[in-house]
């Protein structure tokens, strides 16, 4: 399968602190990959480093996307190439409306957004949120849905989801799962999909709704082992992260 994302020996610091070391991660088109790991192990940092966050200084290694080295590119350039991210805790942006951003994303792709705009918002139960300042006073579940709505608007080829299942209630998790499956084109055979996904979860809750192909465990800023998502989750449940990593070894 065609390789979409290729992270090689990536070491990243924020300020003086090294937060990622020698990370290797390859994801092919059509694949859905899950990243497990305890709080603070570097999962969110890895996603933000791939997205191109300014704070995340690459010390060595590189990130290739669609065969192109994107390590030195700005966030918006990466976004335009097709990297998209749903934030776990996005900032509230006062004065900028959710609808405004969604319109921007849709117009970039196809000129006219108006018809599609409300249809998409309705699907994610966010019709009343289009005129609201983005993330300002949104509940946990509303944030997840709003992040997915924007991603659907963007339609990126590579989709990173940071804890899409945390703080989401039973009713909303269905909606969230559906939206992710739509984004990842789960209705198509893997070979026919144009997208790939990287899902960060520490509970694994989302796996009841979204099928993943592979999983990795992250610990202390590096990616340790890979395997079948359910097997790995089971190992983590019984042996803990350290136990899991010891058993399977570093990749």
């Amino acid at each position: 399968m065609e390789r979409l994302l290729d992270v090689r020996d990536l070491t990243v610091s924020v300020g003086e602190k090294r937060i990622l070391r020698d990370v290797n991660l390859q994801i092919a088109k059509g694949e859905t990959v899950v990243l497990f790991g305890p709080n603070g192990c570097g999962k969110t940092s890895l996603l933000k480093a791939i997205m191109g966050g300014l704070e995340y200084r690459v010390e060595s290694g590189n990130i290739r996307f669609k065969g192109k080295d994107v390590t030195g590119l700005a966030i918006d350039e990466r976004a335009r190439l097709g990297i998209g991210m749903a934030y776990q805790r996005p900032p509230a942006v006062r004065g900028v409306k959710l609808g405004e951003i969604l319109r921007f994303c849709l117009e970039k792709r196809r000129g006219n957004a108006e018809e599609e705009l409300s249809g998409l918002a309705r699907k994610l139960n966010l019709l009343d949120f289009l005129e609201r300042d983005i993330n300002l006073g949104f509940s946990g579940g509303e944030i997840k849905r709003s992040e997915l709505l924007q991603l659907i608007g963007q339609s990126p080829a590579f989709i990173m989801l940071d804890e899409p299942d945390s703080g989401v209630d039973l009713v909303n998790i269905h909606l969230v799962g559906q939206a992710i499956n739509e984004l990842l084109e789960k209705d198509k055979a893997a070979a026919k999909r144009g997208t790939a996904g990287l899902i960060v979860t520490h509970s694994g809750y989302i796996l009841d709704y979204v099928n993943a192909d592979r999983a990795f465990v992250m610990l202390d800023g590096t990616v340790y082992c890979s395997g079948n998502p359910r097997d790995l989750l089971e190992d983590i449940r019984t042996k803990g992260y350290e136990g899991c990593v010891q058993c399977r070894g570093q990749i």
């Binding site: 942006v93 004065g95 970039k108 963007q154």
Partner: protein, 407 residues
């Protein structure tokens, strides 16, 4: 107080500096100018005048306006009202016509507040009288323009606005200078009287020049169930502008609301506040100030004085710093002297948070587009209680300012 007594008080205060803002040398501005002749229609004004006026919300075509007042330098060149129950007049003529009006002259504020009020009394250059008769409801706004064409001129106007009992009145006031004018002094006294159950919205847009000094002095008296809404927009360079409009809620459930949007480019010094005395049971106040500096200085003041039971008031000062050269100083003050008052404020001053820009960039916006979207959002306030037509005018004016100001 008789007119002579008021003159005497003004003379005594002629050298009295204002508590805020730099002290100006009034002698540095010229008091003499040629008279401008009256026009039969605002369309007769030179296209250049029309364009400048439009930048402050004044439409020479009088589209959706129920009356207009236009003063150039020291001459009132036009005044007309098109709806029965509404009056638009030169204040000098109005004082001659209505004997009772002199009771309202220097009633909301006095001539001896500082040297600027004193100068307005000692060297008056007209101003407007706008009034809605009892029960009259204006659907569209009246517009009033104060225009300066002569370099270095002092223009001292005194305005009186009255919304009589049960009436509804909307006003757009635009103050500006001719394109070639760089310096001048504008002193504007405005007294607002909002009677029982009346509603007055007053939207003032300023577009000055880099060396113009501006000293508005205004006060409003709001009676029972009356609503006074004041919006102020200044987004163009001005050397020094200092104003601290004050509202007195004297009747039960009276409401006063102030909104201001200020932009200080390099060289601009703006000191604008909103003060409300809540003197009657159940009176309400709100003040929202939004200030941006791209190199200039802004002092955003607010002061609520709660003196009666059941008073509620909220103040918001937001400052956005877009340049290290500029400074924003927010000074919100709350003062309560009875048990049952509820007054709150929030103030926030700072630059745009980098994580907000990054977040929008992750959606594909460039850093510049993200900044522009946040600045636009900052300026875009829906002014509560305003008719849609006026909100549209404000948005139009802000859009013009954004494009021209390079924001």
């Amino acid at each position: 107080m008789s007119r002579t007594d008021m003159k005497k008080k003004a003379e005594d205060a002629a050298g009295k500096p204002a508590p805020f803002g730099p002290d100006l040398d009034l002698g540095a501005y010229s008091a003499k100018t040629a008279e401008h002749g009256k026009v039969a229609s605002l369309k007769e004004l030179h296209a250049e005048v029309g364009e400048r006026a439009l930048s402050v919300g004044i439409d020479a075509g009088e589209e959706c306006r129920q009356g207009s007042f236009f003063q150039m330098d020291h001459s009132v060149v036009f005044s007309a009202a098109y709806q029965s129950g509404l009056e638009v007049m030169d204040i000098t003529a109005a004082l001659e016509k209505y004997d009772w009006l002199k009771e309202h002259w220097w009633k909301a504020l006095t001539a001896d507040v500082d040297k600027y009020t004193a100068q307005a009394e000692l060297k008056p250059h007209h101003g407007y009288f706008l009034r809605a008769l009892p029960g009259a409801k204006a659907e569209f706004p009246l517009q009033a323009c104060l225009y300066m064409t002569q370099e270095g001129l002092a223009q001292n106007v005194h305005n009186i606005v009255i919304a009589e009992e049960g009436s509804e009145l909307h006003i757009i006031t635009g103050c500006t200078v001719a394109p070639r004018v760089r310096s001048g002094l504008h002193i504007g006294i405005s007294e607002f009287y909002v009677r029982k159950n009346a509603r007055l919205t007053f939207t003032m847009i300023h577009n000055w020049a880099p060396d113009v000094a501006v000293r508005p002095r205004s006060a409003a008296i709001v009676e029972e169930n009356g609503v006074f809404l004041s919006n102020y927009i200044c987004m163009k360079p001005v050397k020094t502008l200092q104003a601290y409009p004050t509202a007195y809620c004297v009747g039960e459930n009276a409401t006063a609301r102030f909104n201001s949007i200020l932009l200080a480019p390099e060289g601009s010094n703006i000191d604008v506040g909103a003060r409300v005395f809540l003197r009657a049971k159940g009176s309400r106040a709100e003040a929202i100030s939004k200030a941006i500096t791209t190199g200039g200085n802004v002092v955003a003041r607010g002061h609520f004085i709660g003196e009666a039971e059941g008073v509620k008031a909220h103040m918001e000062c937001r400052g956005l710093i877009l340049s290290d050269k500029g400074k924003i100083h927010a000074i919100p003050e709350l003062e309560g002297s009875v048990k049952d008052v509820e007054m709150t404020h929030e103030a926030a001053v700072g630059k745009i948070a980098p994580e907000e820009i990054e977040y929008l960039m992750a959606r594909g916006l460039t850093s510049e587009e993200a900044t522009a979207a946040i600045v636009r959002g900052f300026l875009n306030i829906e002014m509560k209680g305003l008719p849609e037509s006026i909100n549209d005018e404000i948005k139009k004016a802000l859009r013009m300012e954004e494009t021209e100001g390079g924001l």
